[in-house]
């Protein structure tokens, strides 16, 4: 397919920041999956994102729940393109657990349409990037259903010359009366040469809604390091602990016990 502009956010901004989409060489073949959860149904899908170009299309029927757990491992293909789009009917819930353990380049796009009343979307995005690894993520919650909810939480660690760009958009469109959207990102920067771009967008055309976002970006907090040290942990160890905590905060949310435990065990071995 050649070079394409991926991860274009709903709202563009200043050109010189280079966040209005990313040009990527897209392979011709796409691995497509599609999952439809029936009314009141419940399904958990685990994917390893081991192919360079994947597309996941989901729909969740009334009061159904779809959980998509996607792990991106270091040893996967150098470049991974992962495109997720899900629609939620009334009372439907979509949970996206995205764990990026490394890999040269990761392009993630996750777009969720909260069409039904009281539909909800929860994203838990964790990343740990080092060396020259990069991740470019676009995550959008499009609210049209009344009282719909979205919660985009991401937490990660960058070291070496890692480069991460995360755009999160909560789009509170006309009709989503009583909707609430929140996004939060917590980024720990371990080395001087990292680059972190955070773009937490809220778009709103409805009155009776609540939208909030927050971000904290920086090195390990001095007060936290002091506190942990005061209990007998040396400085380098406190930094390791805090870095691990950023990943664990996401991994521990994963509802599939076997996946969660395997990841936590792998983290233990890493430490």
């Amino acid at each position: 397919m050649g070079e394409m502009l991926l991860n274009r956010p709903i709202a563009a901004t200043f050109r010189w920041l280079h966040v209005n989409g990313t040009k990527v060489n897209v392979p011709d073949t796409v691995l497509e999956r599609s999952v439809d959860v029936e009314e009141n149904g419940e399904e958990t899908v685990v994917t390893e994102c081991a192919t360079p170009n994947e597309k996941f299309v989901g729909s969740v029927g009334e009061n159904g729940t779809l959980r998509l757990i996607q792990i991106r491992r270091k040893e996967d293909p150098e470049q991974v393109i992962n495109d997720v789009s899900v629609r939620c009917a009334k009372g439907a819930r979509f949970e996206w657990y995205r764990v990026i353990l490394g890999g040269a380049a990761t392009y993630d796009n996750c777009s969720v349409a909260l069409e039904g009343e009281e539909s909800s979307f929860a994203a838990s995005i964790g990343y740990r990037l080092g060396g020259t690894e990069k991740a470019d993520i676009n995550c959008e919650a499009i609210h049209t259903g009344p009282k719909s909810r979205s919660d985009i939480y991401s937490s990660g660690v960058l070291s070496g010359q890692a480069d991460k760009l995360l755009r999160g958009t909560i789009d509170l469109r006309h009709g989503c009366v009583g909707a609430e959207g929140a996004e939060m990102e917590d980024v720990l920067l371990m080395d001087e040469d990292v680059r972190n771009r955070t773009v937490p967008v809220i778009l709103c055309t409805e009155e009776d809604v609540a939208g909030a976002h927050g971000a904290t970006i920086g090195r390990p907090d001095a007060n936290t390091v002091y506190y942990l040290q005061s209990r007998g942990v040396p400085r380098e160890e406190t930094e390791k602990m805090l870095a691990r905590a950023k990943m664990d905060a996401i991994i521990r949310r994963i509802p599939a016990e076997s996946v969660r435990d395997a990841l936590l065990k792998a983290e233990d071995e890493e430490a």
Binding site: S155, S230, R231, M241, M247
Partner: protein
């Protein structure tokens, strides 16, 4: 220096943001002793605790402090902890992603350099939670994350009982403690003192905590100096008359 002294502070001067707060503190705490530090707001009580623990925001400009004969001021923060010092924070930091139990276990491993067996440790955790009348779910929660003020205080006492330091400084200056938290602190102190050698420095005005304490010594800190050393009788005196006699002003505890 007396060999029996666990902590010996001599002429300690400490500044914060270039303002001198402690202006020459002398203090000795022996093994197994309980001391109380009292003083009006802003006297420098929490600064003393922080300076001993190594708070990076404070600068020691003079004097000495030793723990078991070793130079405390030369040590990094974690080395002070390993040397047996523990300080309870007034505002413990929230750390999402690390559970309370895992943290204390890791801290113990770091202190001793040896692996702690998770199961045996978990049993001890449950025992301490029971002693402190805390819910079992505490141990699984992220370190102070989303804890209320009272919950944070309990978590500090919980860590105290598991880390078993030789000298604990409990900074209870914060008068906003609820009844429940006060009970936890009192129970924690009682439990901690079951070890004959454990020493304690309590900074508080809280009558409920002081009552059961029966301290070996009481020190009054005013304007960066210890203006009076005495016994438990000082507690009653301060409770009655405040610090007016020491400050020259009408200041009540």
């Amino acid at each position: 220096m007396d060999n029996n002294d666990l902590l010996a502070v001599e002429g300690l001067r400490v500044s914060a943001e270039e303002k001198e707060i402690l202006r020459g503190i002398d203090l000795k705490i022996g093994k197994g002793e309980t001391h109380v530090l009292m003083g009006p707001n802003g006297a420098g009580k929490s600064t003393l605790a922080g300076a001993l623990m190594g708070d990076p925001r404070l600068t020691v400009t003079g004097g000495a402090a030793r723990i078991n004969g070793e130079d405390l001021l030369e040590m990094g923060v974690h080395e002070r902890a390993r040397a047996g010092l523990y300080m309870s924070f007034q505002n413990p930091v929230e750390v999402p992603g690390i559970s309370l139990e895992n943290f204390v276990r890791t801290a113990l491993e770091q202190r001793s350099g040896e692996k702690v067996r998770p199961w045996a440790f978990h049993k001890e955790v449950l025992q301490v939670l029971k002693t402190l009348e805390m819910d079992e779910s505490y141990a699984e929660r992220d370190l102070n994350y989303g804890f209320s003020g009272g919950e944070k205080k309990k978590a500090e006492i919980f860590q105290l009982l598991l880390l078993k330091p030789s000298l604990a400084i409990l900074d209870e200056t914060d008068s906003g403690l609820d009844v429940d938290a006060v009970r936890t602190v009192s129970r924690g102190i009682e439990e901690f003192r079951k070890n004959q050698d454990a020493s304690l420095l309590v900074i508080t005005h809280n009558a409920a905590i002081l009552e059961a304490l029966h301290p070996d010594a009481v020190h009054i800190l005013v304007d960066g100096r210890i203006v009076k050393n005495g016994g438990p009788e000082l507690i009653g005196e301060i409770g009655r008359d405040g610090f007016a006699a020491y400050t020259g002003e009408e200041v009540h505890a």
